[in-house]
Symmetry: D2
């Protein structure tokens, strides 16, 4: 084991990040130390990199950031019994308290005292990272590293999609960022009768087709009209809202059928300036579910059932693979919209 | 049987109503003719009486209005097999098509082709009314007429309240109009641990206490703060939104706990000018259900289980009882907020 | 339209059946008259043909039997509004009363007063049949006749399978008769992670593989051991019991995981001689759902979503296609176990 | 703190128990040490006392037994953060592993590696007991000790009853031992329209009436006929099976309506000799749920919502209160059927 490691650090309260050499993180009694195989970049990491308003209000630099990763356990704390040195693991990034009301009722994904890896403690854009043993998820040895890492955001899509049944349903997915594209793949694997995907980026709509979408709609057009026309005026059975965009949200609800189900993952940056609650929800008898994180760990079992069995292949969405050192290029690619998901390899790309 | 009857008619596209003598309604092959014992006044009837924008866009006078009633079947059409002359019935006011997608999947309450008694066809503010036999609900002989009539709006409260489980829960009910007050009584019957009721009308809050509310909150105060303070900062498990008021909706969602359930019946008159979807629904992992009408006829069985068994006594909410002829006084009482629910008796008050 | 038609009749209370020429059935005011394209043979029809104990206790000959079919509407009763001459329809075989508790609460599939086509009234093994218009289900024009007919038993499998979610689950299907094989196809379309199929007939297990089963188990072996070995000792998430065989039922419950879900369609011919309720259900915290008929008409919409979209291809299960006149050969093939599903064509096989 | 304590011990593999003086139990790093206020006796403790077949196969004497209790925390282990000295707590008796599939998916009540207090480790029939801090449930200071102790078995009834909704339902409860009687009280608090209670012990049926049962049925009579007669031939909406008696189970399913819900807690001592799966479950479209333990900790929150709010008063079911030293009399009272629930007080009865 090296005495030091390379890590991407947000050194101070300002835009940008720096590659630094630093000591390995200490291992608590219930922690495991992981040698990172791959880490993938999330939209949240771009907020941190750019140092936007949200990041300014939330982070306390200096901090190693990044929270999506996989790797090999190389040491375990004294009280760890369920994870072993040599295990190939991915990580649930939410560290939950275990004693609040949600935690005590099977809803840890909305823990009132959650700490997030790479936000509230040292993250994974580094050669090594420690996490609580209970946050480790054991992978099949053969699972490619980039895919193993991306199981975390894939889990967000699973949580969103599995809030209702998609088999034999007409599903509208608004927003084809990586998580929206994951959701397209999940809906296809679940046997959705028809999958409508919307975005303003045509490259992403092409990827949506690759993932199994049957109908691609430019989000600047009248999405609701297109969906209604394709469903005998009935509307979509299910809305998976992945964009957080106010217009997409209104389109989505308008396109939803009476008695339909809306699963909302996208986070609008500010309150909606106009939301027709009566028409969108009350009159139509709609059910809405808000999605936060991943169900711990039901979502991970479902993820395993989809990914390790080959039901969903997410490799097309991981558009770029780079050594950790190329992090600046990676962030810029994602900021420009030219990349979907980028995987960084802190310990070599073999 | 009289050859003519008295009825309250909206004679033309203008405010007000008139008591007229007119022929009895014709009986279709699948209809039943009912001699009305009692009819109760709904907020919708006030819209029609005042002839507001909604009424202007929806009604085609002349029309006998009113849709909440009970009475005795005095004749049945040729094809009616399940309702008999002499039956004492209440009426489901929504006449559904039976062949749209919701109707064919057990969700007639959101029928795409619904016709409503007293809006789309002759109503019940009259001595006699005809309805399809399938809309008749048989009552116990001993059920008081005003209560039998008010089962229809009570059913809205049942549908709202039974969208989730209330037993041992902390329930927030925003808005104490008649349906909100019904909901308070249902929550109490269901064994809610605590029932928070809000309104701006203190007389209604007093009635809420009578119906079983444990905590009364003036809606002009900080409702969310009061609920959070009373629940160890956790929030209410369930929100039953009965007001349609934008501020109450925001207060209600703010007071709702992480992972809570919101059942929405109140209809905002226009789109909400600001709705914080991210905070109110997504982050908190909230489930929302929009309530329209009554489940046909599951809601009616539940209503029977609550009312005819004496679990809920709604008589305190029926504040006034009057002969049909006093309809103008009845409407004015309700418009002024001095009355809760008014029962009209077209065939005598015995 | 011919004045007479050919039909397979059970002429008297004895084994066998006879091809007879008889008048066309009369059309009631709410009925439609259908020229049958294809009719498929159900296990129930074999009971009637053989005239076993069940058939003796249930049927009143003479009777045209058969209840799975599709065809073209050639006349409609006076009050029919939602089905038109020329419609290509399949039929829900359960004629429900509409006024019992289940019917009034969206559960017509367990109607207390159900009448079944081909059992309680004239059936479809004939050139023409009448059914209530509300029992007609409109098909896409291009749907092959045998498949359109087999949607009815396919619906049983849909109802069984959709009682829970199968996506990313490990599913055990005990019994690979036609409905079990349909269930295999549905589980595959729904993205089940793994599908265990059992039977004693190796030809049927081969078909199960064709339909998407991942693990074939001879039902005479230790099914539970095989499933547990393949699931890290965890057991199957879901049991779809399609055999009605006492041993299979015990194996199935033994193979089910703690907290699993069992959907039971198979009908044991007599009470189970030994059922370990404590181990199979109580200790394990299992949920069990009994399946009767098809949800009307939710199951049909789901069926359409699976079949007409091509998600499930059931053509391999329809092993034989014959003119109506060859009915004796058809019944014998099915009784011998050499056929899966046989389609009869009363008006030519084009 | 005393250096030694009194405890009821099963000293060897034989019937009976002995009061012994022994050292206080050691406190692990995540444990809390509790001074027991009250401990209540469970049917399981009678099995251990009698040393029946089950006890012989499960226990390894010597062992302090007992698992229902409440008390005051007087010391906490080094790593305990969420429980404090001075807390007045009750205990969840199931110590779960936290890493099996059920534990990781919010279903710890069916943990695959569960250890039970008083069975797999030292129990609570003693002046002091240690438990893991995560098994502690904080009580209101004013909750009487016997009631606080009995929350554990009450939780079994809550889990059973809350598996479905009881409000406005007709509920059949078969078996009026303490947990059955708890269930009667819960059904009453939840606003069940009608509560049928069965037992062969008339004293217990009287208690059922006290707890809120509306209809008492001698279990030796035709229970199903009585329930059907009282429900227009429809049957009970819900069966809560608390007896484990084969005849009661058959009666219960026969009395259940089409589409009903059966929640099964009672454990038959051996496989049912005859169970009519087709009639009881499949044809009727029934849903069955097996109940094991308490949902951790959702059931405890529900318990608090019912007990601490006064919705259910279980004091009539705690028929006897005795000092720990009178344990032999206590066991004999329960074995004879003369007692319902007996509370023992190891540190004085004040």
């Amino acid at each position: 084991m090296n005495e030091t490691m390379l890590a991407i650090v947000k050194p101070a309260a300002a835009p940008g990040a720096r590659l630094e050499r630093m000591p390995l993180p200490p291992i608590g009694a219930r922690d495991v130390l992981v040698r990172v195989r791959a880490a993938t970049i999330c939209g949240t990491d771009l907020h941190i990199y750019k140092w936007d308003t949200w990041a300014q209000s939330r982070l306390r630099p200096p901090l190693v950031f990044g929270h999506e990763f996989c790797g090999d356990v190389i040491a375990v704390g004294d009280e760890v019994e369920t994870v072993n040195v040599g295990d190939y693991i991915s990580a649930e990034s939410h560290i939950v308290c275990g004693h609040c009301y949600p935690c005590r009722t099977g809803a840890s994904h909305i823990c009132r005292n959650v700490k997030i890896i790479g936000i509230d403690r040292q993250g994974c854009f580094a050669q090594y990272v420690t996490i609580p043993a209970t946050n480790a998820w054991r992978n099949d040895p053969g699972l490619p590293a980039a895919i193993a890492s991306a199981q975390e955001p894939f889990g967000n899509a699973v949580h969103t999609a599995f809030a209702t049944t998609l088999t034999a349903k007409r599903v509208l997915i608004t927003g084809c960022g990586p998580i929206g594209l994951f959701a397209v793949g999940i809906a296809a694997a679940a046997g959705a009768e028809r999958i409508f995907a919307t975005d303003v980026n045509m490259r992403r709509l092409d990827l949506a087709r690759t993932m199994g979408a049957t109908d691609l709609i430019d989000a600047r057009e009248d999405v609701a009209a297109a969906v209604l026309a394709a469903t005998d005026g009935e509307g979509a059975d299910v809305l998976l809202e992945m964009s957080g965009n106010a217009q997409a949200i209104n389109q989505g609800f308008t396109a939803l059928r009476y008695g339909g189900f809306a699963s909302l993952l996208g986070l609008p940056g500010r309150p909606l300036p106009s939301f027709d609650l009566a028409t969108h929800i009350v009159f139509k008898g709609v059910t809405v579910y808000g999605v936060s994180g991943r169900k711990m760990f039901e979502t991970w079992y479902q993820t395993r059932g989809l990914i390790q069995s080959g039901k969903v292949d997410i490799s097309p969405i991981i558009s770029h693979h780079m050594p950790l050192e190329d992090y600046e290029q990676a962030f810029e690619l994602m900021l420009s919209g030219a990349a979907d998901k980028v995987a960084l390899y802190p310990n070599g790309m073999s």
